[in-house]
């Protein structure tokens, strides 16, 4: 398990270095930043001075070295808009995005786990068929549209919950539903099919043959086995929610990372965009690492496996 863990960490480091390389290259390809920074009437001497000040006169490998040294320290330069370190700006907004993504995930699981289990136990039954339709709707309809409908009906018409902004739990509900709706479908289907396999296994037959209550067999003994493929999906979707929540963040005026990066793109605020890309890569790697570790918690065969 330890060797396995070390291997996964190293793979994560490679992924992050890759992201940094892409950010660096994209920056060099996107035109001359000095031209953007200097006034229109600046002369050749001022250009040269600015290039030297920014280190842009050095050869590319040297520039990459400097970039990497800074990046490792979390320094992606100052935001053009806010005159503050780009990474600091984003890290301030990270809790809001984490909160939203976690709430979305909890919502998705609260629906998907019971639906998946009941669908597998009563295969072809009412819940199974209803869940299928419900899940299809979830995947066919974009999250922002669900968000807009929720705002329209729940917030504006019924006035039950606030329409936008971050604050208490009541602010969290609508964006969490809009964000968590999409993965419910895939999670329900995945859990259903792995539950069907397991409910048909020899050990479930054995558990029935010694008279364990069906409730225990389904919700305890079978569900834990069926969780492994679901955990993989949780990892993928949670990372997507963290990195891809910006649409929902814009719809609900949620002060998260996604919205900050979108704003930065429109403002051509390059350091913030770069920091955002690298942060997203970091989050992906971290989430995948947590997922890998949790396999071991669920399945002792993975925990004891020699890598």
């Amino acid at each position: 398990m330890r060797a396995y863990f070390v291997k996964r960490v190293l793979q994560g480091v490679v992924a992050i270095v890759g992201a940094l390389l892409i950010v660096f290259v994209a920056q060099r390809l996107s035109g001359d930043p000095v031209a953007l920074m200097l006034p229109m009437d600046a002369g050749e001497a001022e250009f040269a001075a600015m290039r030297e000040a920014l280190g842009l006169d050095k050869p590319l490998p040297a520039q990459f070295g400097i970039f990497m040294v800074n990046a490792v320290q979390g320094d992606f330069g100052d935001s053009y808009q806010w005159q503050a370190p780009a990474m600091t700006l984003l890290l301030e907004r990270l809790p809001a995005t984490l909160e939203l993504a976690l709430a979305g995930l909890v919502f998705a699981l609260l629906l998907a786990v019971p639906l998946g289990v009941v669908s597998s136990v009563h295969r072809g039954g009412l819940v199974d068929r209803a869940a299928k339709v419900f899940a299809m709707l979830g995947q066919a309809v974009p999250g922002f549209w669900i968000g807009l409908l929720l705002i329209l009906f729940v917030a504006v018409e019924l006035q039950w919950l606030p329409a936008f902004g971050r604050g208490g739990l009541s602010n969290l509900v609508l964006p969490a539903i809009a964000l968590g709706w999409y993965p419910v479908a895939a999670m329900t289907r995945t859990l259903r099919s792995s539950m069907l396999d397991i409910l048909d296994s020899d050990y479930v037959r054995m558990e029935r043959a010694i008279g364990l209550p069906e409730r225990w067999i389904v919700w305890r003994y079978a569900l834990r086995n069926a969780m492994v493929p679901l955990v993989t999906m949780i990892g993928v979707y949670f990372a997507n929610m963290l990195g891809g929540a910006f649409v929902i963040e814009v719809v609900f005026a949620w002060p998260g990372i996604g919205r900050a990066v979108v704003d930065a793109v429109f403002a051509r605020d390059f350091p913030v965009v770069q920091a955002g890309v690298v942060l997203a890569a970091l989050v992906f790697v971290a989430v995948n690492l947590i997922v890998d570790l949790s396999y071991g918690l669920i399945d002792p065969r993975i925990r004891h496996a020699k890598a």
Binding site: D202, R205, M206, I210, G211, W216, R301
Partner: protein, 320 residues
């Protein structure tokens, strides 16, 4: 103790009705062992599952017959009663494959404790049940049971896993133990150890043992009586001595002629011509007639009745 009469379990498949168990009757006394012998597909496992009220879902259904255990009729009991009072409590099964019969993500101790807790025999606390589970593991001679209870199935060898399965089955001291080919997945030396263990447990608890196997060698060693199944029916049942000395049914005669030595595990029977019948399209009359050297016109048309000869039974026109 156990009386099964005219038990019928059919599988309702898309392609037709498969009469997996088609009118099986037998009796088994406490402390005795009945061998149920036959080729794969002859309905012996399905008979065992039917006693537990567990025909495979959703196709399988018990369509007729009675099963009475210590005077109580089991056919027709609802699911909850079966789970609470019968399965694990009165009847338990040791299943075929120890490698797949244990839940991979729970400790062995927890799995042996589960039936004890489910049937309310472990006192109030989880700890008492865990303690009893360790005792059961000691009972089936798992070495260092206290430590090993905390291990997971994949940390056990095949023979040890089968012991764990046995511990789960006997944890609540069932009156009837069904052992479904408990040794066929094991090495020969381990087979012998396990059979000794099962016999010892049976002697201690005075349970009846229904021993399902295709291995005539092992059956001869452990069974008091043997019932031979073919195509969902018992074609012959007799004491082990009688059956081996003087087999009455041509199928039994064929089986014994091809008898494997102890330890040989060929599944194919060499000396009986032809193949087991398609269970969805059984031959008319006696299902064995296309393979039977003594078949007459009557065998083709009319199924033979089951005739009693003392305590023994045989279903063949030669003896009708």
């Amino acid at each position: 103790m156990l009386r099964v009469q005219d038990l019928k379990t059919h599988l309702f498949l898309k392609r037709g009705v498969l009469k997996a168990v088609d009118g099986v009757s037998f009796e088994l006394a406490a402390g005795k062992t009945l061998g149920l012998i036959g080729e794969s597909g002859s309905g012996k496992t399905m008979t065992g599952l039917s006693l537990l009220g567990l025909p495979p879902k959703p196709a399988g259904r018990i369509v007729g017959g009675t099963v009475s255990l210590d005077g109580r009729e089991l056919i027709g009991l609802d699911e909850k009663t079966l789970a609470d009072e019968v399965r694990g409590r009165q009847i338990a099964m040791i299943s075929q494959d120890p490698m797949t019969s244990l839940n991979p993500v729970f400790t062995v101790g927890a799995q042996v404790a589960a039936p004890i807790r489910a049937h309310g025999l472990g006192g109030d606390s989880r700890r008492d049940a865990a303690h009893l589970a360790v005792e059961e593991l000691q009972h089936v001679r798992v070495p260092a049971a206290r430590q090993r209870a905390r291990d997971y199935p994949h940390q056990f060898s095949g023979g040890m896993r089968q012991r764990v399965v046995a511990a789960m089955a006997i944890a609540c001291r069932p009156r009837l133990l069904i052992a479904d080919e408990p040794t066929s997945a094991l090495d020969v030396t381990i087979q012998v150890q396990l059979m000794d263990l099962i016999e010892r447990i049976q002697a201690e608890t005075d349970a009846g043992l229904l021993f399902i196997t295709h291995d005539l060698g092992i059956a001869a060693r452990v069974c008091h009586r043997i019932a031979v199944m073919y195509a969902g029916r018992i074609v012959e049942a007799a004491t082990a001595e009688q059956l081996y000395a003087e087999p009455r049914h041509p199928y039994t005669q064929g089986l014994l002629a091809s008898v494997p030595r102890l330890g040989r595990r060929d599944k194919r029977l060499i000396s009986i011509p032809g193949n087991p019948p398609d269970p969805l399209a059984l031959p008319s009359g006696c299902a064995f007639h296309p393979r039977c050297p003594h078949a007459t016109e009557r065998c083709r048309v009319e199924a033979p009745p089951t005739v009693m000869a003392g305590d023994d039974q045989v279903a063949c026109w030669l003896h009708a």
